[in-house]
Amino acid sequence: MSEITKMRNIGISAHIDSGKTTLSERILFYSNRIHAIHEVRGKDGVGATMDSMELERERGITIASAATNVTWKDYSINVIDTPGHVDFTIEVERSLRVLDGAVLVLCSVAGVQSQSITVDRQMKRYRVPRIAFINKCDRTGANPVRVKNQLIEKLGLNAVLMQIPIGLEDHLEGVVDLITMKAIYFDGPSGEILRYAEIPEELKAEADAKREEMLDAISLSSDELMEAILEERVTEDIIHRAVRKGTIALELVPVFMGSAYKNKGIQPLLDAVVGYLPNPTEVTNTALDLDDEERVVVLKSDENLPAVILGFKLEDGQYGQLTYIRIYQGKLKKGDELINTRSRKKFRVGRLVRMHSNAMEDINEAVCGDIAALFGVDCASGDTFCHPSLNYSLTSMYVPKPVISLALSPADKKSADNMAKALNRFTKEDPTFNTYVDAESNQTIIQGMGELHLEVYVERMRREYKAIVETDKPEVAYREAISQRADFNYTHRKQTGGSGQFARIAGYIEPLEETEEVKEYEFVNLIKGGVIPTDYIPSCDKGFQLAIKKGTQLGFPIVGVRAVINDGAYHAVDSSDQAFQTAALAAFRETYDRAKPVILEPIMKVVVEGPTEFQGNIFGSINQRRGIIISSTEDGLACMVEAEVPLSEMFGYSTVLRSLTQGKAEFTMELAKYSRVPTSISEELKKNYLEKRRQEQGK
């Protein structure tokens, strides 16, 4: 077990096709290799060389698990897999929580692309320090300086070149390290032997100039370096310290380069990972104290404190369910008792393992900062496990509501069983994925964050669970809301034998002010003088909450409403909790129509990227979909259009876009907000809803 300052938890994030897999493989390869060389030397003092067979085998390694532990020099690095697509936002965000730093991989030709922008936005939100690696410098059209400039311009990062390439495209030979001012070449059959040499004559001037630039940029976040420059006593150590400080403070993004495919530049990148990215003690992690109104508490990387652990990913293995965990505070030993703070279930830690690239290692304990996996724990992804003395939650209980739903029909009995198994599994893994059986149509409905999100699960059902299912057309999850204030004064009275029911409530409902954060419901009690006894007030609240679960226009939940009660009456004998709840429910239903209800629809933030020649088609396609163009950015031949488009108009957009742009454009989307549906469309929706209900009642 390594000490905590020698641990790194990193993610590798990249746009599709920028070479994330190859880079990950190389990282595993070199780190294992170094490890192996180390061991062999220790035993017999003779360095080992690779034979080609072994190389082939080693190259076959891919990161198949959610977290892989590798050793570089004497540092323990956990490489955490980050899913790429934005439809899986919650998964991305959960994995971002777990990592302390990241390597942003960019293609030296394509540069900063739409997905890099989305991922970068998420990293900023979670304050993840990062270093950049410009990959594929061996490709035609490679231009690392241009990519560095895009990091500055498009992402607003203070990107600083730490290296310059020796040759580019076919002539890529190595890199110049601007700190040591040495050329680095990567010799041996797979680049595992580093050869340091003088900088080639023709690159000296450029290297000098870029070093100046680098020092200027770095010195802005380090007084120590600034002084050293003025006094002309800059040492490598001072620069390293300054880069580390700036990177962890998110003031700086050091940029490295090379070609994973050509085995160039990986080892210096690994040095940078351990050198510049933070260890777990240098990152502030917080939890919410569920016993204290979700007060934010700072966790300490101290193994003597009670344990706080996040289960961030579930995986079905041959030995049962594997739960990947990160320990934020305290330590974990086999046999320890933990409590799942969501389900309130206690359990004992059975098998504890660490995942390596090619093997699983049983361990007896893991300490704060570390990533490990547990076997056979019944839990959902994102659950927090604590020492029984604590009741903390690492993730907010807030989960974005699904925006889209899809009805499924299994082909036969066997498929139905398998589908049920699959759905049970998926809902555990992904809190943004829901499923229920519709009471009216008796169909299984799945809900999620986007068309692709659901498609992927349907595909997984087919492949992994052999469940053959038919799908209907996806449906948008609308919301209902009120647009003006309406007053009510409602008396609920029932006198049919036995004890009667009586409750009168008066007040009004009104729309909540539009703010950045969408609030669903607010209850205000303005009752004075006890005209409704305090005991019955929560029942009124409950009644309203029941009422907003399903609106009368489309049968979707009502959001953004404030219910206020300011008068009422009760009866000493006949009033009850139930009576007031019923009164509130009925009062709301009666008032709803007078409050001019409207329908809200999910609006997606859509980013389309493609060649400039298709810009007109892209604009046109957004315009046809009731979209609003927010911005368009052109950079030479590429353009990127950002827009807000109603989700209902986005079905099948990928096919349309492909045909409009000869397959050269791509798009991403995520939920931006809910907005009012234009009247013409809401009338149509209401008509269809009534029609559907009539049919169902007719059945």
């Binding site: 895009q150 539009e514 163009i629 368009s632 950079d635």
Partner: protein, 235 residues
């Protein structure tokens, strides 16, 4: 305050008055000064005022960072709506956003033909009926006369107002007493409105001078200036 009242009380009414009712479609207006005086804020304030009055705006920037431009709009909107306690500010903001597109050209030395053709694509294929185009940071001082002529023609063809914020590119440029660099004077005949911005230390205000208006070349102080704290146009 309701939006109509806010518009009536806006210092931009005094600004328009100085221009006898505004720049007018088919015309070019230029805000010019040294770096760091607040031209972008001024331009965004002009644009926001138009958005408040239901006009459609294209904001053209050359910085590469769209987020930055959008934040300027957010900030200017926030200041105006808070100063005037605008009713229902959040929904008004969402509404006016639909009438603004930011177009960004991050490639260095992009040609004016390219910029104009992209604008035309947006207006025609994107069905975006722009009333005004705001060029933020266009290097007008080093553009050729032909470039400026093309922009003028575009403004007339598309029937829209074009505003520029301009700072000189070269560091050795001479400024006159109104903050106008000599390099802009080459196209004076093509510019319909030229406004110089200059910081006055004694008043702690950025003074706005109407240097050229139509055929008149007689510099007149405007009834508005720029508040260096809020960076907004004020009376």
């Amino acid at each position: 305050m309701e939006i109509q009242e806010l518009n009536a009380l806006s210092p931009l009414r005094a600004f328009d008055e100085s221009l006898d009712g505004g720049l007018g479609k088919g015309n070019l207006g230029v805000l010019v000064s040294r770096h760091g005086i607040g031209k972008t804020a001024c331009l965004v304030h002009l644009a926001t005022d138009k958005l408040f009055r239901n006009e459609h705006i294209i904001h053209v920037s050359f910085s590469g960072n769209v987020e930055h431009v959008i934040n300027w709009y957010k900030e200017v909107f926030r200041q105006i709506s808070e100063n005037r306690s605008l009713a229902d500010a959040a929904s008004i903001y969402n509404e006016i956003l639909a009438n603004r597109v930011v177009m960004n050209f991050s490639q260095e030395n992009v040609s004016i033909e390219k910029v104009l053709s992209s604008l035309e694509t947006l207006i025609r294929q994107g069905s975006f009926n722009a009333d005004a185009v705001m060029f933020d940071g266009y290097k007008l001082t080093v553009a050729t006369e032909d470039d400026v002529r093309k922009i003028k023609q575009f403004a007339m063809d598309m029937r829209l107002e074009v505003w520029f914020s301009v700072s000189p590119v070269r560091s050795d440029v001479q400024f006159d007493e109104n903050g106008v660099p000599s390099t802009i004077l080459r196209y004076e005949q093509l510019i319909d409105v030229l406004i110089g911005l200059k910081y006055n230390e004694a008043m702690d205000k950025v003074i706005m001078t109407l240097v050229k208006h139509g055929e008149s070349m007689d510099p007149k102080p405007m009834h508005v200036n720029l508040n260096p704290k809020t960076m907004l146009i004020s009376e």
